[in-house]
Symmetry: C2
DNA sequence: GGTAAAGTTGAGGCTGACGTCAAGTTGAGA
DNA sequence: TCTCAACTTGACGTCAGCCTCAACTTTACC
């Protein structure tokens, strides 16, 4: 009795849903958003058919499991950055924190590098997060520390690179990305700037790139 | 008549081999070293069985088609760099030229980012090429232009990033990599340097990363 | 406790790739 | 021109993942 909203879901079914949500979170964290559903089902002690019955698709499962968590983590990173007194430190901290998220959670790695076709809620999380990033970057630019020709869209390059680096080195040299990121940040300071050869991606181009990516996982 | 080495290969067979070599070069260039062999066979007007009969494996086909070309192009890039009067300009030119190779030829993209398990000749080409890169980098470091804490192994980060960026943006924004590379190079100048958090990958780690990469194509 | 509705299962079909092999085709020397 | 070794073929078996559905099991309500 009680909440009518889920009255129609039987107790055993609800237990399975909860187990699936939990194991999906675990498996996505460990193996990324392209992990085989088989692995998730198995960890939940259930067959893959159940996943399809309960959620309908991988995308829906992702949307049920990942966005809230992702949003929390990204918000926290942004809040930490905005709390920094020094605008450059805030920007650097933000980028580093986001990269840390990528390293610690392959699901977030896929979220942050936009490696997730067709998941509505996640797309929204990314959009919001990009606005936070824009504020953080603009503050650092207004302060003169972040080079003026940097565009938020360029952050995508950073996060893509980081995503890939993490995938490659997670087992062998799990801190390698920090070195790469340090080089990158050094190139983003105003003092380091030399003329750029090309304009930043437009938001439309970013969309197009995402759309065209298809199966080409990082 | 003529070369006894291939006396035993029938004329039609030799024609097929030549057609396969040509179409493999084309397809690898357009689609990378993981292109379906089916595509290569089809363009040569032949069935995939023929590829296996003639070459035995994808790796052997790659080794027959790619290394010489790759070596030529990489040597040329290195020569251009060493001919530069200014050591930094030479270094920057080298990196840019290599990235251009990646952009113009997805086979080279895979070679340069070491995306090719089990191909002996290519591995040797990479090794040689890395020695050239080391010389070019060391000259720029001796001149004080390239930051002293940069290691040749770090170039791999650059080429990996570039490989991925090219795959993602080839159709939408084929020059995007130039912008990303410009940021990167700005971070490699001595003037931009801040302390790095981690040591460079050791050659052994590089090996390990390559070995562990397995199917995880860029 | 009986039963219908809800839930779960796992085999099976699909896809797109790889690599193999028995059978058919063809070139070149006699 | 004939013949057979050399060559090519394409159907086949495999693999790994996705998704579906008819048959089976369990729950919860009466």
């Amino acid at each position: 009795m009680g909440d009518g909203a889920v009255r129609s879901v039987r107790a055993d079914a609800r237990r399975n849903i909860e187990k699936l949500v939990q194991s999906a979170a675990d498996v996505f964290r460990e193996r990324g958003l392209n992990a085989p559903l088989e692995a998730i089902a198995q960890r939940a002690g259930v067959s893959t058919g159940t996943i399809y019955h309960r959620f309908g698709s991988r995308e829906a499962l992702i949307d049920a499991v990942v966005p809230d968590y992702a949003e929390d983590q990204l918000d926290e990173a942004a809040a930490g950055a905005e709390a920094c007194a020094d605008p450059w430190d805030g920007f650097a901290l933000y980028v580093e924190r986001v990269c840390e998220l990528q390293a610690s959670n392959l699901a977030l790695n896929d979220v942050i590098s936009r490696n997730h076709p067709g998941t509505a809620k996640l797309a929204e999380v990314c959009r919001r997060s990009q606005e936070q990033a824009r504020r953080i970057a603009e503050r650092a630019q207004a302060d003169g520390a972040l080079r003026a020709d940097f565009a938020v869209e360029d952050l995508l390059f950073v996060f893509w690179s980081n995503a890939m680096l993490i995938r490659f080195t997670a087992e062998t040299a799990p801190d390698a990305w920090r070195r790469s990121l340090a080089f990158t940040l050094d190139g983003l300071r105003t003092g380091a700037a030399h003329e750029l050869p090309t304009a930043a991606l437009t938001p439309a181009q970013v969309e197009q790139v995402m759309a065209g990516r298809g199966r080409a996982a990082i």
